[in-house]
Symmetry: C2
Subunit: 199 residues, 2 copies
DNA sequence: GTAATTAATGAGCAGTTACTCATTGTCAAT
DNA sequence: ATTGACAATGAGTAACTGCTCATTAATTAC
């Protein structure tokens, strides 16, 4: 009853948007260029997104959800809180290593004023799920008994820094270094003196 | 012999650039709007900066140096490595609290591809000075004996996250919370079990 | 005074922007 | 075949972009 959608347009648009930002930066992106990069006409972009801002936010949210689900899938393979948190941490860093441009895009948009973070329900939910995982660690006596937001800051920040560093391609990072950083962070938030979980 | 510069134009330009980015975001800034906000004509901006990119980078570097010198001044009031590092850490967070827009601008530009970080000598020097401070802590047995870059990542990341959170105005942060985060971070990188330095 | 020098201007340039819409292409149901 | 429904197009548009440069304003040296 309708012209078939040839190919996966939303996917093409997402890819082109991320690549365009990675290529010329957020201070010079344009919808026309994104369309050209995606091999589509401008009109098609406006069929999927109401405005430039809408496009950027949609792609941002999409990648954000990608990262989150990757983390949760990694957590699902473990039972005890310590192992789950460790798996999530490494999944986050690994995402930055595997898809640096995607990660960089999210980071850039995270600092954008236009994107109204707190208002969005989906973002709230993602945040809540992460905090719930940390709460588990507090409850079972693995982590120090302080506000989960506090722990989240200490835990997540270095992972983001690490992934961002790779995304910007400034230097290669060995897996030893990643492991060492996790050790130090875990040392800070774990209750006991035991070394951080390995498996 | 020449017409006097009336007022401090570079300062006006810097201020307007930061405010414009804070107001409409990096994805929509324009030189014309920055000029209008500064109460100057476009030509004047191009008298001080060769291009839009040059303008953004210059302001970025300026703020970056501001932040760094604030940190080093804070450190100068102390002798022992632990106290110096603590002072620097709080100075960084405090900068984000006092001048959120400036801090946010730096963070945004930090994630920009266009800004070639590694190439700049000034940025290199700033980085080197910070690492040297940490090295002091390693040398006198205050911090664990690992690569200074590793420690820097664990130490600086949460401070940046904290300052950024304030910059984006998502939530107010009490000084207790800041203190608690520092405690956890310090716990991770300090060699002994002693609590982090207070004075 | 006036000549020399430079700061600052802002209209104007060619090119680009975000966005629209009349048109065309492609399918399933008739 | 014809129709109806919609995906996709891309030339078109007014506004705006980064940037230039002829001109004016302000100052000092002589």
């Amino acid at each position: 009853m309708a012209r078939h959608k040839s190919g996966d347009k939303p996917k093409d648009i997402r890819k082109a948007t991320i690549e365009e930002v990675a290529h010329i930066g957020s201070t010079a992106i344009s919808v026309n260029k994104i369309a050209a990069r995606a091999g589509l006409s401008v009109g098609t972009i406006y069929r999927y997104h109401r405005s430039k801002d809408d496009l950027l936010f949609a792609v941002f949210l999409d990648v954000k959800r990608d990262i989150h689900s990757t983390m949760m899938e990694a957590a699902a393979e473990h039972r005890i809180a310590a192992s789950r948190l460790r798996a999530m941490w490494f999944a986050l860093v690994d995402y930055g290593f595997r898809l640096p441009k995607d990660f960089q895009f999210v980071e850039l948009m995270n600092s954008e004023t236009r994107i109204q973070f707190s208002g969005n329900e989906k973002l709230r939910q993602i945040q809540a799920e992460v905090l719930a995982e940390i709460q588990q660690g507090v409850d079972d006596g693995t982590l120090v008994d302080v506000n989960v937001r506090t722990i989240e800051t200490v835990l997540a920040s270095p992972a983001i820094t690490l992934a961002r560093r790779v995304a910007l391609g400034r230097q290669g990072i060995e897996s030893d270094e990643v492991e060492r950083i996790f050790s130090l962070v875990w040392r800070g938030i774990a209750l006991s003196e035991r070394p951080p979980p390995k498996e």
